[in-house]
């Protein structure tokens, strides 16, 4: 299996028996929260949706899986979300089957989703690949498989001789996790692909800071030696341990 990367999402397509398009953290309805924080902008839901629909059209998937944080506001559903969410779901369902691996922002979304559409909190194994949001310990059945997760909003900084030549571009981190971290050791290694946020205003976390970070159990269980970094279009940057360090960092 070779994942197919869609830089304009960012989104990734996993193809085994079926074609599964995956995005993470679109945070639809974020503008209502921005308002409360003193940033007054019009809803970008339409722009975000048209980006998504274009990729669905290009990739022609059997499923769209959203790795959590489909909506933004915690712990309730805002007026903006109440108005926009049915329309978002209607447009997606018209094009393909929809699944949501619920994230910490998805409180109150159950009413809008079909029974099959909402995956369990700790993730589900679909067509040989695990999917979950990333803020919890993944379910046992996902162990020993490739797991895709969101939640971390990974970004990559690239440095050259003179300074930082690329700052905060969305990227992927692929890493094996400590096999003994949770439950029995599986036959195959468990690998996690940290998917960058679809939400374009996401601040993002430098991939250098994810392994060992207490932001989530999986980040904490990463084994650095096997970790690798990709850009949003799938460009292989480097093994994690060979990432060119920040030049300001003392050696």
């Amino acid at each position: 299996m070779q994942p197919e990367f869609y830089a304009d999402g960012p989104a990734v397509l996993i193809e085994r028996q079926e074609r599964t398009l995956v995005i993470a953290d679109p945070h639809f309805g974020v503008e209502a929260d921005l308002h409360r924080h003193g940033l007054h902008f019009q809803s970008a839901t339409d722009a975000r949706m048209s980006r998504l629909l274009t990729i669905i059209e290009q990739s022609d998937p059997d499923y769209l899986i959203v790795l959590g944080d489909l909506k933004h506001m915690i712990p309730y559903v805002t007026y903006q979300e109440r108005i926009e969410m049915p329309e978002i779901l209607r447009k997606i369902r018209k094009e393909t089957n929809f699944r949501l691996a619920p994230g910490n922002h998805d409180t109150g979304l159950e009413h809008y989703l079909g029974k099959d559409e909402l995956l369990p909190m700790n993730g589900a194994l679909i067509d040989g690949t695990g999917y979950f949001h990333g803020h919890t310990i993944p379910a046992q059945e996902l162990m020993g498989h490739l797991i895709l997760c969101g939640h971390h909003h990974p970004v990559v900084n690239i440095y050259d001789d003179v300074g930082c030549s690329l700052r905060g571009t969305p990227g992927y981190l692929l890493a094996e996790i400590d096999p003994s971290a949770w439950g029995p050791v599986p036959a195959n290694p468990t690998r996690i692909l940290f998917v960058p946020a679809f939400y374009e205003l996401a601040g993002g976390m430098d991939v250098r800071l994810i392994p060992g970070n207490n932001i989530s159990p999986v980040a904490n269980a990463i084994q650095n030696e096997t970790a690798e970094v990709f850009l949003k279009d799938g460009t292989y940057v480097a093994p994690f341990t060979e990432l060119r360090p920040d030049p300001m960092e003392r050696t």
Partner: protein, 903 residues
């Protein structure tokens, strides 16, 4: 003369005449003689004359006369607007007497005015109100005060040249039109320092209404010269002392606060000098002014804080330390000397280096020839339009767009705004600040709060504290807009003359450590430098070429020093850049472009070159500029000829487009964009940007009127596209040439001694030393983990290599942080909770580590946030000496960067 004075007196209201008699006013200055008869007729005018020649009275006597002749009891009759609160206070104390004598009520209203006084002004309006542009804005918000504003018949704007160049002034021109909406037409009087284009100041004040200029030139009374003050600071202060001793009262102007402090400190033992600058508290400044006025001190070391006309009595002599950079600035500063009538103003520039001497010579000549720079007002500033539309909407609840257009069209700064106004309205509507219906603008709930937070066009922002985690103390503060546009973990910036690296950002603190190798574009946040204009820098280039020093007013030492540098250049086979030659030099750090273009032109060309080089060679390019050179930090494989080739390939008409691209990624642009977005109501003054990517958010402004305004302002204030075009055209037509060479002494001047570039001192060693010192000094608790009966508080530096318990003799001693003391005491209980057991395990590990590694473990464990786990990691590296401390720093840094996720 006597009869002229009598005629003048006779023309005044009898009561005013009486008061003049009483005051012993028997002589008038030239400006008063000319201004009073003009203004008494009620016409609009700009008054220009040197400071201290009674400009204020020349504006106020005719206004008082009219107020007495045609009394009027409705609200404020006259407004006196100054740019500064300190000027307001000064003016109030000067006018109090007049008011009492003439029976006119005079009062001040600005940010410091008490609620009580404000209430009094509302219930019982004074005849003359002294205020600032911002307080005027606030007055429009209140119903009662608006009614009082409807009584206005005379408006005097003091120091109008200071306001005319900025957006504060632009906003004021609209405010004047808003007064006219309430009160009808009124007499407008502007008081200005010398500028190159007084007619424009007139238009600025009056729009299309007629306006007379009454001008007494400063230049004819100026006596200026340049003196070389040597290169040692000691020698320089000695020379300043000599000058102070030879005059009764002296003002010493410096360009920066830190230099003023340094000189003030050196002169402190004399006991007859004071320092005066904007960072000092109001009390300290007022004391300094009072001491000087009373003759208790004979010299005051000051910055631009003293430029405006605060009355400090007699000044015999003005010293300008280092080049004043602008002609108008020198004229204004030295114009303060020798005040009274008919006297000349004596002033001297003390220059300290090659650039400084030549620049001072040029500026002195231009001042003597009465060639100050032109004042340039902002035309069609979109954020001011947005701000004033919101103000009008709040004032009236709703207002027709046609009316808005009409009000703006009366202000000179917006007379041709055209469709821009509707564009601004549409953008404001997109950010929910106002709404429109049937060609009306209607206020929204948010608009009032917006307005109260955005009365001023000065960026008034939250400050974040910069906290040095190595020395564990605050370094200074940063403006919020700078923080959001530039500061992220890992970012490097300059503050307090040092380079810092950001570790983490708290709610209102930025955790930093001194950075060792600073590369790339370094934003500096120390007061914006005064730019040297293109015309001055080019004449410096001409002086380098012709070496006609005899035509300038400098002492022999200055000329000898300048000639020595130029002959050394020749000896070294270096080439000197002039107004007809650009010299590109290879330095270790990159390429130095010697170009006598002034700050803004060099900034423009530097940025254009850097983006072209970066695109062509795929590398990032660092850039530093001053008035005479541009340093491009480049990878080793790029040399002067490569840069020369790009420079020669420039086309004048492409400059603006390339510059737009180049600026878009800079911190400066983002900062401006945020400021302007705030004025459009898109971003609240107290917005919270956490958790979002500011960069991406700012992309939402692409192609909007907000973005256009950001570029307009940058091109207008920070860049000089026209000057840069001229340089490129000169190159194209071969009236200016280029040469490449090795680094020369002139080229290196900016690099190693430069006035604008901060050279980081030996950082690494300094950091290690400071960590050693800090840890040695840190309090620790020695605690016996064997008997648990002994603990003792001490400092790391005093702990022996193998501490031993004096009670039981065991060597199992843990070295704890002071906050762990309680947890240790708790261990003596029989039954321990889970938490307490964990603490015990941790302390036991700690004690074992001290037992096996001795002092090294003690030091490591004393690091901030370093527990037994990270201490073990540090010890396992087997690092020794400085490297050992580096490991501790790393662990501390790690702690700083991750601790927020622990909770």
């Amino acid at each position: 003369m006597t009869s002229a004075i009598d005629d003048l007196k006779d023309s005044l209201h009898p009561k005013l005449r009486e008061v003049l008699e009483k005051r012993g006013f028997d002589e008038f200055s030239e400006i008063q003689m000319r201004a009073v008869p003009t203004l008494i007729t009620g016409i609009n005018a700009i008054l220009i004359a040197p400071t201290g020649t009674g400009k204020t009275e020349s504006a106020l006597l005719p206004v008082f006369h009219q107020m007495l002749t045609k009394p009027c009891q409705n609200g404020f009759t006259a407004l006196y607007i100054t740019p500064l609160r300190s000027l307001n206070r000064d003016m109030m104390s000067r006018l109090e007497w007049w008011g009492a004598e003439l029976g006119l009520r005079i009062s001040v209203r600005h940010g410091d005015t008490t609620q009580n006084d404000r209430r009094k002004q509302a219930t019982n309006p004074p005849d003359l109100l002294i205020t600032t542009p911002e307080s005027l804005q606030a007055m429009f918000m209140g119903k009662v005060l608006r009614k009082h504003l409807a009584g206005v018949r005379y408006v005097i704007v003091d120091e109008i040249h200071e306001l005319a160049g900025g957006k504060r002034g632009t906003q004021l021109t609209v405010a004047l039109e808003r007064i006219a909406e309430l009160a009808g037409e009124f007499q407008r009087i502007g008081i200005s320092a010398t500028v190159g284009n007084p007619e424009l100041i007139g238009k600025f004040l009056c729009g299309k209404r007629p306006c007379t200029i009454v001008q007494v030139p400063v230049a004819k009374t100026l006596d200026l010269s340049v003196k070389f003050a040597g290169e040692s600071f000691h020698g320089q202060t000695k020379l300043i002392e000599k000058c102070i001793d030879s005059h009764a009262s002296t003002l010493v102007f410096t360009n920066t606060r830190s230099v003023a402090e340094a000189i003030g400190h050196a002169l402190l033992p004399r006991g007859d000098t004071d320092v005066h600058h904007g960072s000092l508290s109001r009390e300290v400044r007022v004391d300094a002014e009072d001491n000087f006025r009373a003759g208790k001190t004979r010299a005051m070391i000051c910055t631009s804080s003293m430029e405006l006309g605060i009355d400090i009595g007699q000044i015999d002599h003005v010293i300008q330390f280092n080049s004043p950079r602008e002609v108008a600035r020198l004229m204004q500063r030295t114009g303060r000397a020798g005040h009274q009538i008919h006297a000349t103003s004596k002033g001297m520039i003390l220059a300290t280096g090659f650039d400084d001497i030549l620049e001072s010579m040029v500026i002195v000549n231009k001042a003597m020839a009465n060639q100050p720079e032109n004042t340039r007002p902002h035309m069609n500033a979109a954020d001011v339009i947005a701000n004033q539309i919101a103000a009008l909407a709040v004032e009236r609840g709703q207002i027709a767009i046609k009316k808005i257009e009409e009000i703006f069209s009366r202000s000179y700064c917006f007379h041709d705004a055209g469709p821009l106004i509707r564009e601004v309205i549409a953008e404001m509507e997109r950010h929910y600040l106002i709404r429109t219906e049937d060609d009306m603008v209607i206020t929204k709930n948010r608009a009032r709060k917006y307005l109260s937070l955005n009365l001023s066009m000065i960026a008034d922002e939250k400050k974040s504290i910069i906290f040095d985690v190595v020395a564990r103390k605050p370094v200074g503060t940063l403006d919020e807009s700078f923080v959001i546009s530039w500061i992220s973990s890992g970012a490097v910036f300059v503050a307090r003359g040092q380079v810092w690296r950001v570790l983490d950002i708290d709610e209102d603190r930025i955790m930093v450590e001194p950075a060792k190798n600073a590369k790339g574009e370094l934003p500096s946040w120390e007061g914006e430098q005064i730019p040297v204009p293109f015309s001055v820098a080019m004449e410096v280039g001409r002086l380098r070429r012709l070496q006609n020093f005899e035509e300038y007013r400098a002492d022999e030492k200055s000329v000898i020093f300048a000639e020595k540098i130029l002959s050394d250049m020749k000896k070294n086979r270096s080439i000197t850049a002039t107004d007809q030659l650009i010299v590109l030099e290879d330095a270790d750090e990159g390429v130095v472009i010697n170009l006598c273009g002034g700050h803004k032109v060099n900034e423009t060309i530097g940025r254009v070159l850097s983006i072209l080089l970066s695109a062509r060679y795929g590398t990032s390019v660092g850039i530093e500029t001053n008035a005479y050179r541009i340093l491009l930090r480049l990878p080793k494989f790029l040399r002067a000829p490569d840069v020369e080739e790009v420079l020669l390939s420039l086309e004048p008409e492409h400059i603006e487009g390339i510059l737009t691209l180049a600026l878009k990624k800079t911190a400066l642009y983002k900062w401006k964009l945020v400021q302007i977005a705030k004025k459009f109501g898109a971003i609240d003054a107290d917005a919270d940007y956490e958790k979002i990517s500011m960069n991406r958010l700012l992309e939402l402004f692409d192609k909007t009127v907000i973005e256009r305004e950001a570029f307009r302002e940058l091109f207008f204030s920070s860049m000089d596209v026209e000057g840069a075009r001229e340089v490129v055209t000169l190159l194209k037509t071969r009236r200016m040439g280029t040469k490449t060479s090795r680094l020369s002494i002139i080229g290196a001047e900016g690099l190693f001694t430069g006035r604008d570039i901060v050279v980081p001192p030996g950082e690494d060693q300094a950091i290690i030393e400071s960590v050693k010192h800090r840890i040695d000094d840190q309090d620790v608790i020695l605690a016996c983990m064997h008997c648990k009966n002994w603990k003792s508080r001490t400092k790391v530096g005093r702990v022996p290599d193998q501490p031993q318990c004096p009670v039981c003799g065991a060597r199992l001693v843990a070295v704890l942080k002071p906050y762990e003391e309680q947890a240790f005491t708790a261990l003596k209980k029989k039954k321990l909770s889970t938490e307490e057991k964990e603490a015990e395990t941790r302390m036991m590990r700690n004690a074992n580590m001290v037992l096996s590694s001795g002092k090294k473990a003690i030091i490591a464990l004393a690091g901030r946030g370093v527990g037994p786990e990270s201490a073990a990691r540090i010890l396992n590296t087997f690092a020794t000496g400085d490297n050992f401390y580096r490991e501790i720093l790393k662990a501390e840094r790690n702690f700083v960067q991750t601790h927020r996720f622990w909770g």
